[in-house]
Symmetry: C2
Subunit: 389 residues, 2 copies
């Protein structure tokens, strides 16, 4: 029996969409760089996601991105992602077909096919993975995500704060173990279960999640977040070639794409890292605190950052300069390459850049679900532009 193969192009024709962007290797490398910067220290090793996407392109599969406002309301989409501690991912690279298995089981549970992928977050792994999955499945990827940053927990999305849910979520591993999690509207329980499953798998799982309709994608996503990441990555890559200041180019790009001001607030080197060891197996996150000593005009100042996969907050000489869900990036001052929580080491030097979170992440529900108090800080949320105004 021959399986009828569809392609992303067929699907777009069926939806009568003529306007789309073709994602080639240059495009995905720019998107992934931008997404890594917006991942605020998390999101994992871009090499893993990129190599996967390159392989899909090398096999002749096409990856096409469409604007969310173009898609039909009734279509079925889903997100695909890696869930677990990024530190473990480097030890357990994915095998081909693992996301395909998750998607197929999600389709079986839903009783309908997935017609497009939606990236869950901005990250070195989870951004390109959504493109690789789209290419493998022969469906388009939609120019949205659920955060326009990375966040450590499954429910920390604009999707949940706008009333749509992660259930059912299918979690698989390289050995073809499958777990289907269906907790209705209890997204925190879904995260708890998905995290425990990932830990039982050995630290990392691959999930198909957030089965959203086209209408829900439009109403609850961070719209055009892929374009924002792409422009950021493009700006930094151009700066490298033209020997410009990559951080200035990044801030210009964010101003142009999102009309927001970013802040360059510190330059220094890492002098202390306190990792919570055992946390991989206990909680399924990369956890700890890092201390940076200022250099150049910041000499004599001390910055401290907590992290749970991602940077959570920034204090300089005790003064709070950034709180979740606003974004923190530590970037190599020469290349703009982000320093990640899972690979940073003593002596790394970088510039700290702060970026306002997207407005769909700053709703009262958003601040409740992933603001400072959720992460255990006894502080009200104050926007980064107020703290640095």
């Amino acid at each position: 029996m021959k399986e009828k193969r569809v392609s992303a192009r067929d699907i777009l024709q069926e939806w009568d969409i003529k306007d789309f962007r073709v994602i080639d290797k240059q495009a995905i490398s720019e998107i992934t760089l931008g997404a890594s910067i917006l991942a605020t220290g998390g999101g994992g090793d871009p090499e893993i996601g990129l190599l996967w996407t390159y392989k899909v392109l090398d096999e002749g599969k096409e990856i096409l991105m469409v604007d969310p406002m173009e898609i039909p309301d009734e279509i079925q989409t889903a997100s695909t992602a890696c869930l677990g501690a990024a530190l473990v991912l480097t030890e357990k690279p994915p095998s081909g077909g693992v996301l395909n298995l998750a998607i197929r089981r999600l389709e079986q549970y839903l009783g309908r096919p997935i017609q497009a992928t939606i990236p869950i977050e901005c990250g070195g792994v989870n951004s390109p993975v959504a493109y690789a999955a789209a290419g493998e499945l022969g469906v388009p990827v939609i120019d949205v995500d659920g955060m326009n940053r990375a966040f450590p927990e499954l429910q920390m999305t604009s999707w949940v704060t706008h009333g749509v849910h992660s259930s059912p979520t299918v979690s698989v591993d390289n050995r073809k173990n499958i777990t289907v999690i269906d907790t209705g509207d209890d997204d925190v329980l879904a995260e708890t279960l998905a995290r425990r499953v990932a830990m039982a798998y050995g630290g990392i799982s691959w999930i198909a999640t957030y089965p959203l309709t086209g209408r829900q994608v439009k109403e609850a996503s961070i719209l055009n977040s892929q374009s924002i990441a792409w422009a950021a990555g493009h700006a930094v890559m151009c700066a490298r070639q033209e020997h410009l200041d990559p951080i200035a180019e990044l801030l210009k790009s964010l101003k142009k794409e999102r009309d927001v001001e970013g802040f360059r607030v510190f330059r220094g080197k890492i002098v202390d890292i306190r990792r919570e060891f055992g946390s991989e197996t206990n909680k399924g996150f990369t956890l700890g605190q890092v201390i940076m000593e200022g250099i150049d005009e910041y000499k004599g100042q001390t910055a401290s950052l907590d992290f749970q996969n991602e940077w959570l907050n920034l204090r300089v000489d005790g003064e709070v300069l950034c709180l979740p869900p606003d974004l923190i990036a530590i970037l190599d001052s020469e290349t703009g390459e982000p320093i990640r929580t899972d690979i940073m080491k003593y002596g790394y030097r970088g510039t700290i850049v702060l970026i306002p979170a997207h407005e769909r992440m700053r709703t009262p529900k958003g601040i409740e679900m992933f603001g400072p108090r959720h992460f255990g800080y006894d502080l009200d949320y104050v926007p980064v532009e107020t703290l640095n105004g």
Copy 2:
């Protein structure tokens, strides 16, 4: 749209089976008492399972039990059970329909209907629950189980040691949360996942598991284990009415049904209980150790028993008298009622009875999977009849 209702009687007629036993309230109360005794201190509060089964019978539903050797090879069966810490169960009694939900989702995942239930173990909850589920579903219950005792972990069955598996397992809770676990032939991982899910649900889950064919039921189950429990319960109930020694009647029944000798080895009172507190949330079991001081002819002797939901081993004055998978029951000397690990208290008095495990639990694979070394004892398995010969 009217749903076509089937009944257990229709199914048996379709299979051309004329020989079956009708389970009424008296029958299920005898089966449950016998199962509680064989549960070796575990299996949970019989009231919960019994009340559930009574309710099903009061609704006019029929519960029919068939001999395993009569069923067709190709039919689809499954087990239904409570998985978690029995101590929590008393706090969180089940709501109606919870097992139905698990069975329906298992059928959906398998793509075929469940045509009979198979009790997973002998226990105050899990024995009657298989009957209640059969009555609610309108399918027969088969005269088998996977242990002919209770054991704390999902993979500790004759089914696994005879090459059939618990996957897929569907785990649900009272709030209709659903998790489908499919780990292929990795039954230990299925247990790990099911346990973590139960803990995330709040300590207790209801599962539909071990989707066995009729042929697998015959080849891998403890055959006629329901009849064994029923006869044991009947013997003890008759002894109570006729003022006979319930323990002597129990041992006679086991001799008659299974042709095995049981051993009455100790009488005493509980003088110390060391519970591992916090274990409910950490590991999902009722864990600890109990010390009994001998009375009557055992005066001056000390018995110690470890437990993990069930009694695991017995030492009297340091000498090992019973090792898993052989059975340990502490029974009220007057009524034959079992003293369970989840409800025992300082001062409880009882007689300790030891019973050889079923031969299908004593295979080399069985000893490897649930013998003394599996539970952390640095001891080779020695049959209870050798230790007490």
